[in-house]
C-alpha cells in the first residue's frame, strides 16, 4: 500500500521539478509512511518525511524514535537532537538533494525562512520548491480498502446516532447528549470521535458550528446533531436535524427544502462534474425557495484521514469530481433568531454515481 503510494508520488517528481520532497503535515506523513505521531506543533518536530527517488527518511525526535521504527518500517529513521532545520544539511547530503519540494500549504513562514537559509548555504546549494496540495490531491481518490474503512466508520457513526436519536427526549441538556454520543462512539469500537459532537437546539441551531451548552431540549424545536467517529484512522461525519414533537410550519418548510437540496445533489453528482456545479445543484434549490442568503457554507468536503480534506465542494475553486472520491453533502438553512436545519450524508462516487455511506435519513423527520 505505502509502496504504491510512494511510487505514485515519485512519478510526479519530474513534472514538479524536484528530486526530494519534504512532508510534514501529519495526515500526509501517515498516508505515505504509516507513522501516526502528532505533537500538535506546526513545526511538528515529531516527524518529517524526506523522500527522494530511491530513499525515504523519517526524521523525528527522541520522543518518537521507537514508534517511528515500529510504524514506518519502509523508512530509515533518523533522530534529530537540535531541531528539524538543523538536521537539514545531513538529509541533503544523504539524499543528494538539489531541488527540495515543500508543502506550501503547511510550512509556516518562519520555518521556511530558516530552511531556505540552510538550503542556500549548503554545498551544493539546495533550492526550495513550493508544492501545492501534492499529497492532498493523491488522498482525494480513495483506494478500495480506504472506501471500505470509511464505510465502516460511517456505519458505526450512523448506528450510534440512530440509537441516540431514538432515545432523545425534551428536557435533556445539549452537553449531556453530546457526551452520550462520545461515549457510544468509543464503546462501539471507534478510535475516538472525529471532532467534538455538535448538539445545537432551538436558537442555537442557527449557529452552523455551535458548541453544546447547558440548554435543555424543548418540544418542537430543531435539534442539529453533527457527529463523526474515527475508525482505524478514517473519519466519518454526518448531521441530522430532528424535532421532538411537531415543529412550526416554517421549520417544516425549511427542513423540506434542505432535504430536497440534499437529495437533488446526491442523485445528480457524477464523476467528471465540477465541484462548483455539484454545489450549485443544491444551492439553486435553496435559492429558488427564497433562502439563498441563509446557506452560507459550502455544500460539502472530502473526508478520509482528516474530517475535512480535499476536495471542497463549494461555490469557489472548481475541481473535477472523480470515481473513488468520498465527500459529504450537507446543505443547511440558518435563520438567526429562529433556528436552523442541516442535513449531512457521506457519499462515495462508485460506478458513475453517488453511493451514500451514512444511514437512512427519512426516519429522522419527526
Amino acid at each position: 500500500m505505502f509502496e504504491n503510494r510512494l511510487r505514485s508520488l515519485r512519478s510526479k517528481f519530474d513534472d514538479l521539478g524536484v528530486d526530494t520532497v519534504w512532508i510534514i503535515q501529519p495526515d500526509n506523513r501517515r498516508y505515505l509512511s504509516g507513522f501516526r505521531a502528532v505533537d500538535g506543533h506546526l513545526t511538528e518536530s515529531s516527524g518529517s518525511l524526506f523522500i527522494s527517488l530511491d530513499q525515504g527518511i523519517l526524521l523525528t525526535d527522541t520522543r518518537y524514535t521507537t514508534q517511528a521504527e515500529q510504524e514506518a518500517p519502509g523508512f530509515e529513521v533518523i533522530t534529530h537532537k537540535e531541531g528539524v532545520v538543523n538536521a537539514l544539511p545531513e538529509i541533503f547530503d544523504r539524499l543528494q538533494s538539489r531541488r527540495l519540494g515543500f508543502e506550501a500549504g503547511y510550512l509556516i513562514w518562519e520555518v521556511y525562512q530558516k530552511a531556505r537559509e540552510k538550503a542556500s548555504q549548503h554545498s551544493p546549494p539546495v533550492e526550495l520548491i513550493p508544492l501545492s496540495s501534492l499529497v492532498e490531491d493523491m488522498r482525494e481518490i480513495k483506494e478500495p480498502q480506504e472506501v471500505e474503512i470509511l464505510s465502516k466508520s460511517a456505519q458505526l457513526m450512523s448506528n450510534v446516532l440512530s440509537k441516540v436519536i431514538e432515545e432523545l427526549r425534551p428536557g435533556e441538556v445539549e452537553k449531556d447528549v453530546a457526551w452520550r454520543i462520545e461515549t457510544l462512539i468509543r464503546q462501539n469500537g471507534a478510535d475516538r470521535p472525529a471532532f467534538a459532537p455538535i448538539v445545537a437546539s432551538g436558537l442555537n441551531s442557527a449557529l452552523p458550528h455551535a458548541i453544546p451548552t447547558g440548554r435543555r431540549l424543548e418540544k418542537g424545536e430543531p435539534v442539529i446533531l453533527d457527529v463523526g467517529a474515527i475508525v482505524a484512522g478514517y473519519c466519518s461525519d454526518m448531521t441530522r436535524t430532528v424535532f421532538l414533537g411537531e415543529p412550526t410550519e416554517d421549520l417544516k418548510e425549511i427542513y423540506r427544502i434542505v432535504r430536497e437540496a440534499q437529495l437533488t445533489a446526491i442523485e445528480s453528482v457524477r464523476p467528471d462534474m465540477e465541484t462548483t456545479e455539484a454545489d450549485s445543484l443544491a444551492r439553486e434549490v435553496i435559492k429558488k425557495a427564497g433562502f439563498g442568503g441563509f446557506f452560507g457554507h459550502s455544500l460539502g468536503h472530502g473526508i478520509g484521514l482528516a474530517t475535512h480534506e480535499s476536495p471542497t465542494v463549494g461555490p469557489l475553486k472548481p475541481k473535477i469530481l472523480q470515481e473513488g472520491m468520498v465527500f459529504t453533502i450537507e446543505p443547511g438553512i440558518y435563520l438567526p433568531g429562529r433556528g436552523g436545519v442541516r442535513l449531512e450524508q457521506m457519499v462515495t462516487l462508485e460506478h458513475g454515481r453517488a453511493r451514500v455511506l451514512t444511514g437512512n435519513e427519512d426516519f429522522y423527520f419527526f
Copy 2:
C-alpha cells in the same frame, strides 16, 4: 481583561514598526478577543483579528458570524464571502493600514504569498512585517485569574488521577484505563481532556508519547499515566508512573533518580533564571546517575490556553523565567526494551519560587 491585553499589545506597535497586527492562531485570537471558534484548518477561515491602534476587527465566515458577535463584543465582526485574503483590501482601507504585522510562526507560506500580493497591489501599498511569538510571549505570564483557573484545572486532574490510580489493578487494559480517565475528566466538570490520555505499561513505558493499546497491565511493571484536562479553556498536564506491586531494583532506581531530578528542579527554579538552567538542574541529576542518554526531551513547557505553549524549558533557546509563569517539570528516563519512568508536575512561579499546582506525588510510589 481583553482591554488590558489589547492595551499591552498596542503598546508594542511602535517598537515593532507596525500599525496593524493580523492574528490567526486560535489560542492567540481567544486570548485577545474571547472568540473561541476553531475550524481546524491552518488558513482558519473561521476568524482573523485585525487590530490597529484604535480599532479591532474580527473577520470570520458565515458559519461563525453569530458566535463571533456573542463571544467578542469588543470587536467589529465582518463576514467574508470569498476567503480571508480577498477581504484584506477592505480591512486595509478600514484600518488605514500601511504596515501589517503577521504571525511568522503561524502563517503558512501559501497564504503569506497571496497576502503579500494583495498588500503590495493595494493603494497605498501595505508592507507585511513578520512578528515572532508576539502574543505567545504575552501569554507566558499569567494574570492572577488565569493562575486560579489553571490551578483548578490541575486540581481537578489530580483528583481524577488519584482516584484512577487507587483503583488500578493488574489485568486491566491500557485503552480501558485511558477511557476511564476521559470519562472521569468529563464527569468532574472539565470542558474535555486536554489531550488523549497516555497509559503506557511495561515496555510501552519506554515510548515517551505512547498511544494506549490493548495490552494488559502486569504486576511490577511501570505504568506511565500522562493526562490533562481543560477547565474554562485552560489546560492541565501531569504524569505519574506507578507500579502495581514491587518493581525490579533497576526500575526502582530509575524512579528514584527521576524523582530526585524533578524535586531538584522544583526546589531550585526561580524568577530570573534561564529556562536552560532550569532544564540542566534536573538533567545533571540524571546525567550523574549515568542515564543522560535516556532523557531525550525537554524538562517542561509553558501551559495555559494550550497544553504546550511558551516558554519551552529545555536545553536549547534560553528564555528568562518570570513570576506568574506556569509550566511543567517532567523529567524522564526511557530504556528501550526495558521500560521508562516520567514524573510531571505543573508549577507556577509565585513569591520568588515554584508552587506546585498538581497534587502530591509521594503517594504514588508503590
